[in-house]
């Protein structure tokens, strides 16, 4: 186990996140002779898509499918590359001078990086429905992690709800593992099918097409799929019942577990705190960093690869990681031999072909992004949609002022589970666009560290005098 004190004070390249983008980037850079460290806060590498890839207890490969096992090669390549891979390492700070704050087993360190590749991926889009904070309601991604990393499947009466490829993949994986799913409550807007048609030719060329269709068939053969327009979770202290409206008709089902999913969005927190410029992506309804062709951000020396650069999926993430790493190696060690980035770009283009169709078809309906009045928008501080609308109505124009007024985004998750909801609620209330409303301005630590860890960091005389006076 690498401890905080084992780390060098500086590395040529610091890669943050050990999913496909981070693993591919670290492997390429280290092989080119660049001193590389990769930090991941989970107990093992793989990110979410290849979660538990080096340690999963699942023996039957068919349960998770061959796409999952492809991650083993990425992990092995990174391990063999000479990159220092540190798991259980939480990066909580990154500044524009590329000082990286990292915590390992309760000890904090500051590391200097000549280049940084942020590969912190995505997180599931907030799904604020009434009752989404009840025990028993989880994200589909959580259930998938439980399956991949721990060999656990949900028990009792299990419902899946939402839209998007991951929902169908999870359903198929659960079924193959022998789990029972009572129903899938499908929130896909029927009108989206028509809107997606123009993107169909590209989608037919992408690898998602045949895989997606096979998944839908596999799941639909075993589980009833119910189109719904409204959804809420109910129960005393835990989930007991799910209410929904299907084709105008109210229905309810007893339930023990409700798994929610309506797509993934870039996890922008670290990049935002580092001062990276972001912009609103209207097709994917989220903020994403502004990047150049090598995934370089607005902050010199900081690149963002993988789904954190905008959602494109796991295989595209690895190619993006390679492109970012090639640029880093060329800057750090021009003499090193690296693959031709053009060939990588071509592969990436193929991987990205299907996105237009998927983004359009699975664009979450307004009803599931702009919650009704008493629904909690900020889970940490328990701030409701009504409170946000009320403050917007008396003149609050943006999420930073909203945060000051209502504390939304001030809890430990630092807005990861409410940021987009708050921005969209303000935009809707004030009849403006999310792009104009903006997002929370974040500062380190982007993940909590203890006061003692913060106190242990190097302090200059001037910094001490700024406080002791």
């Amino acid at each position: 186990m690498t401890e905080a004190s084992d780390l060098a004070s500086a590395y040529d390249l610091v890669v943050i996140g050990g999913g496909p983008a981070g693993l591919a980037a670290a492997a390429l850079a280290a092989r080119a002779g660049v001193s590389t460290v990769l930090f991941d806060e989970n107990p093992g590498v793989g990110g979410q898509i290849y979660r538990g890839i080096t340690s999963t207890p699942l023996k039957k490969r068919a349960v998770l499918g061959e796409d999952y096992w492809a991650g083993a090669e990425l992990a092995a390549e990174a391990k063999a590359s000479g990159a220092l891979i540190v798991t259980g390492a939480t990066v909580w700070s990154l500044d524009p001078t590329r000082q990286v704050g990292v915590s390992i087993a309760g000890k904090a360190r500051m590391i200097e990086a000549r280049r940084v590749i942020i590969a912190t991926g995505s997180l599931e889009r907030p799904f604020p429905i009434p009752g989404w904070t009840l025990p028993g309601v989880m994200t589909a991604g959580a259930a998938q992690t439980a399956l991949k990393a721990h060999g656990l499947v949900p028990n009792g009466r299990v419902l899946l709800a939402g839209c998007g490829p991951l929902l169908w993949l999870l359903a198929a994986q659960m079924l193959r593992a022998g789990a029972r799913i009572e129903a899938i409550l499908d929130t896909t807007l029927r009108a989206n099918w028509l809107r997606a048609v123009p993107h169909l030719p590209d989608f037919l060329l992408s690898p998602y097409w045949s895989k997606g269709l096979a998944l839908l068939r596999e799941v639909r053969a075993k589980v009833p799929v119910i189109p719904i327009e409204r959804l809420s979770a109910r129960g005393e202290g835990k989930l007991q019942q799910v209410d929904y409206v299907s084709r105008g008709k109210d229905s309810r089902r007893q339930a023990d577990v409700l798994l929610l999913h309506q797509g993934v969005v870039p996890n922008v927190n670290l990049a935002n705190a580092a001062g990276v410029a972001h912009r609103w992506n209207e097709r994917q309804i989220c903020f994403e960093p502004v990047l150049d062709v090598d995934f370089g951000s607005s902050v010199p020396g900081i690149a963002i690869a993988g789904d954190g650069a905008g959602i494109a999926g796991g295989t595209a993430a690895a190619e993006r990681g390679r492109i970012a790493a090639i640029a880093a190696v060329r800057a750090l060690k021009p003499s090193a031999s690296v693959p031709d980035p053009q060939s990588v770009r071509q592969k990436l283009q193929r991987e990205e072909l299907g996105r237009g169709f998927l983004d359009t078809l699975y664009r979450p309906a307004d009803a599931f992004r702009l919650p009704e009045d008493e629904t909690i928008a900020c889970r940490c501080e328990e701030v409701t949609a009504k409170q946000i609308r009320d403050m917007a109505a008396i003149g609050c124009e943006g999420p930073n002022q909203m945060k000051a007024f209502l504390r939304c985004g001030m809890g430990p998750c630092q807005g990861r589970l409410c940021g987009l909801t708050v921005t969209e609620l303000i935009a809707a209330s004030r009849h403006t666009r999310p792009a104009d409303v903006g997002y929370y301005r974040l500062r380190p630590p982007v993940k909590p560290i203890t006061l003692a860890e913060l106190a242990s960091l190097p302090i200059s005389e001037a910094e001490r005098k700024a406080v002791e006076r």
Binding site: P154, K238, E382, R416
Partner: protein
């Protein structure tokens, strides 16, 4: 709330709120709680509402628990160890614990 698939085995013992339960080496604390049917891992510091693991990937902070006497640890990021003491966290954390 969750059950283990047949090809996985419990191998070690941890304590959750004073009760000994089995866990598998490789589990995170949050996974072990889910596998043992713990229906909530904390109550919120705002209204005292019960919460359980939600994302299992370190972003939601719903699985905050006390581990070996230290509060507000993210249960989904901490691997279990034999003999580990886990406590559900009630409301606001107590300074010094």
């Amino acid at each position: 709330m969750f059950k283990r698939l047949g090809d996985t085995a419990d191998t070690l013992t941890i304590e959750i709120d004073g009760k000994s339960v089995r866990a598998r080496s490789g589990d995170t604390v949050a996974a072990a709680m889910l596998a043992n049917g713990i229906d909530h891992c904390r109550t919120t510091p705002v209204t005292g509402a019960p919460r359980a693991p939600y994302c299992l990937m370190g972003v939601c902070f719903e699985c905050l628990v006390m581990i070996d006497g230290v509060g507000s640890r993210q249960g989904c990021l901490v691997p279990v160890r034999d003999g580990m003491r886990v406590e559900t966290q009630q409301g606001k954390r107590e300074a010094g614990r």
